[in-house]
C-alpha cells in the first residue's frame, strides 16, 4: 500500500482521537490516514447484472474483488488506474456502477429497505445512498430524496438520472421543516435514512480539506442540527417503522449524544436495534468528557478506518414501537 504525506492534525483533534482510541489503536489510525483509500464501486443492479458488469470490467483488464459474499454488488478495483479513470469509463457514464466508499454503503445495508416501501432519505445529496436504496428495492415503492442546498440537488438529480432511479421524488427543503410539513399532511414512512450533515472526521483519508476545516465549534453546531433533524424525522415514522441515523464522523457529540438524545426524548416509543454488518464494528461509547450515555447506546456502531481499511462512520438503527 502506497504511503503519502498528510497534513498535520490539529492538536485538539489529536487529543480527542487519543481519548477515543487506545494507544496502539491510535497509532494504527495515524498509519491508515497515510494510505490512500481503496477504490470501491457499487454495481447498479437497476441497469446491469453483477455478472455482466464483471465481464465488462474484465474486458477493461481491471482487476477487482468482491469483499462481501452476501453483498456481491460491492466491488473493489485493485488495478492501478489513472486519476479520474474510474469516473470517465463508459460503464460509469452509462450508470452501470456508482463510485462509493465502502463505509458509505453500510447505512443502507443497515436500513435494509424492502420492495414497495415508502422511504425518506432526508439529507440525500449527492445521492450515493438514494441510488443504493433504489437498487435494493428495484425501483418499487417511493423514495422521497430531500436536500436543502440547490447546488447539491443538481448533483443528486444528475446521479439519480444516471443510475436510472425512476421511483424518486426530489424535494428541496430544510430537513426538519420538511418533516414538520409532512407530519401536518399526515404522510408517514416505512423507513427513514438520516445520513446527517456532520463535521466529516471520518473522511480524512479522501479529503485533505477536512484537516483544515476541522473545528470544535462545527461539531457543537452540527450536534444541534442533528438533534433537530432526528426529532422531526422520528415523528413521521409509521408505527414499527425504522430510522437509521448515520454520520461520517467520530465526534461523540454528533453520534452517541444524538442516540442518547433520541432514546430519552422518545423513551415511550423508541427501541434501538442491534446491527449486523460484514465489517469490524465497535460499540457506541457510554461516556465522553463529562457526559454519560444510556446503556443502550452501546448498540450503535463505530466504524474506524484502521479496522477495515475504509473511511470512518457511525451508524445507529431505531424502531418506532408505537
Amino acid at each position: 500500500m502506497k504511503q503519502r504525506k498528510i497534513p498535520e492534525l490539529k492538536p485538539l483533534f489529536k487529543e480527542r482521537m487519543q481519548n477515543l482510541l487506545s494507544k496502539n489503536d491510535y497509532k494504527k489510525y495515524l498509519e491508515i490516514l497515510k494510505i490512500l483509500p481503496v477504490k470501491s464501486i457499487r454495481c447498479n443492479t437497476l441497469k446491469i447484472s453483477i455478472e455482466r458488469l464483471k465481464e465488462k470490467l474484465k474486458a477493461k483488464n481491471w482487476e477487482f474483488s468482491q469483499p462481501f459474499k452476501e453483498h456481491s454488488e460491492i466491488i473493489i478495483i485493485k488495478s492501478e488506474l489513472e486519476p479520474g479513470e474510474l469516473g470517465r469509463s463508459l460503464e460509469h457514464v452509462l450508470g452501470y456502477y456508482y463510485i462509493q466508499e465502502i463505509a458509505s454503503m453500510l447505512p443502507v445495508l443497515v436500513l435494509n429497505p424492502k420492495e414497495n416501501e415508502l422511504i425518506l432519505d432526508l439529507c440525500s445529496a449527492p445521492g450515493s445512498k438514494t441510488t443504493q436504496i433504489a437498487a435494493k428495492i428495484k425501483n418499487t415503492g417511493t423514495i422521497i430524496a430531500n436536500e436543502v442546498s440547490l447546488g447539491r440537488i443538481k448533483i443528486l438529480a444528475s446521479n439519480t438520472e444516471r443510475c436510472g432511479v425512476t421511483n424518486v421524488i426530489i424535494t428541496k427543503k430544510d430537513g426538519a421543516k420538511l418533516c414538520k410539513r409532512l407530519k401536518e399532511s399526515n404522510l408517514k414512512f416505512d423507513k427513514i435514512l438520516l445520513d446527517a450533515p456532520c463535521s466529516g472526521e471520518g473522511t480524512l483519508r479522501s479529503s485533505y480539506r477536512t484537516y483544515k476545516m476541522w473545528n470544535i465549534n462545527t461539531i457543537k453546531q452540527m450536534s444541534r442540527i442533528q438533534k433537530r433533524l432526528f426529532e422531526a424525522a422520528f415523528e413521521i415514522l409509521k408505527p414499527q417503522g425504522e430510522i437509521v441515523y448515520s454520520t461520517c464522523t467520530h465526534a461523540p457529540e454528533e453520534n452517541e449524544e444524538i442516540v442518547n438524545f433520541a432514546l430519552e426524548k422518545f423513551k415511550d416509543s423508541i427501541k434501538i436495534e442491534k446491527i449486523n454488518l460484514p465489517v469490524k464494528t465497535r460499540q457506541g461509547i457510554l461516556k465522553w468528557r463529562d457526559k454519560e450515555y444510556s446503556e443502550d447506546v452501546k448498540f450503535a456502531c463505530r466504524i474506524y478506518p484502521q479496522d477495515n481499511n475504509t473511511e470512518g462512520f457511525f451508524i445507529a438503527k431505531f424502531k418506532k414501537t408505537k
Binding site: R88, T142, T171
Partner: protein, 161 residues
C-alpha cells in the same frame, strides 16, 4: 417546480409515437411534463393525488428520470426523442430504427460527435453498441445528429471496450 401529470389519452399519444418510430407499445409508469417539451418517467407508487399533496408540502425539484422530448418538424408532425435512460428502460421493446455502432463509432458517439454515415433514413434512431443502449440520434441524408448531453460524454477515446 410545477409538474403536469399526463392523462391517459396524452400518454397514449406518446405511446403511438413510440410505436410508430421504434415499435415500442407500452410505457411502464406515469409520464409528467415540466416544460412543454420535456417528459419525465416516474415508476414509484405515489399516485397523482399524493404527488400533488407532496408538492403543497415542499418544493419538488424532480420526479423520476428525464424520459423524452417531443419535437415538431417543419410540417408540424410530431416526433419523439428518447433519453439514454429511456432507451435502457425500454430496450426490450425496441424493434425498429436501431442503429448498431462499431467500436470506433461508439467512441465518437459517446464523445458527443456527429457521425457522418449515410443510413438512407431520415428519422430518429436508437443508438446501440453491443448490448449497450446509448440514446437517440437523428439521421439525415449525410449524418446522424448527436444529442448526448455534455455531462454524459466520454472525455477521450479508447474507453469503449
Amino acid at each position: 417546480m410545477r409538474f403536469h401529470i399526463l392523462k391517459q389519452s396524452e400518454k397514449e399519444q406518446i405511446e403511438n409515437l413510440l410505436k410508430r418510430q421504434f415499435g415500442i407499445t407500452k410505457i411502464p409508469g406515469i409520464l409528467l411534463t415540466q416544460t412543454s417539451e420535456k417528459i419525465f418517467l416516474f415508476q414509484g407508487e405515489f399516485n397523482e393525488k399524493q404527488i400533488k399533496k407532496l408538492s403543497e408540502t415542499a418544493l419538488i425539484e424532480k420526479i423520476g428520470i428525464y424520459f423524452a422530448k417531443i419535437i415538431e418538424d417543419k410540417q408540424k408532425e410530431k416526433h419523439i426523442r428518447l433519453s439514454i435512460e429511456a432507451t435502457q428502460v425500454l430496450k426490450n421493446q425496441i424493434t425498429k430504427n436501431i442503429f448498431e455502432l462499431n467500436k470506433e463509432q461508439a467512441e465518437k458517439w459517446m464523445m458527443g460527435q456527429e457521425l457522418y454515415i449515410k443510413t438512407g433514413k431520415k428519422c430518429f434512431l436508437i443508438m446501440k453498441y453491443k448490448d449497450d443502449f446509448l440514446g437517440t440520434g437523428k439521421a439525415s441524408e449525410e449524418k446522424i445528429g448527436n444529442y448526448i448531453p455534455k455531462t454524459r460524454r466520454l472525455k477521450s477515446k479508447s474507453l469503449v471496450k
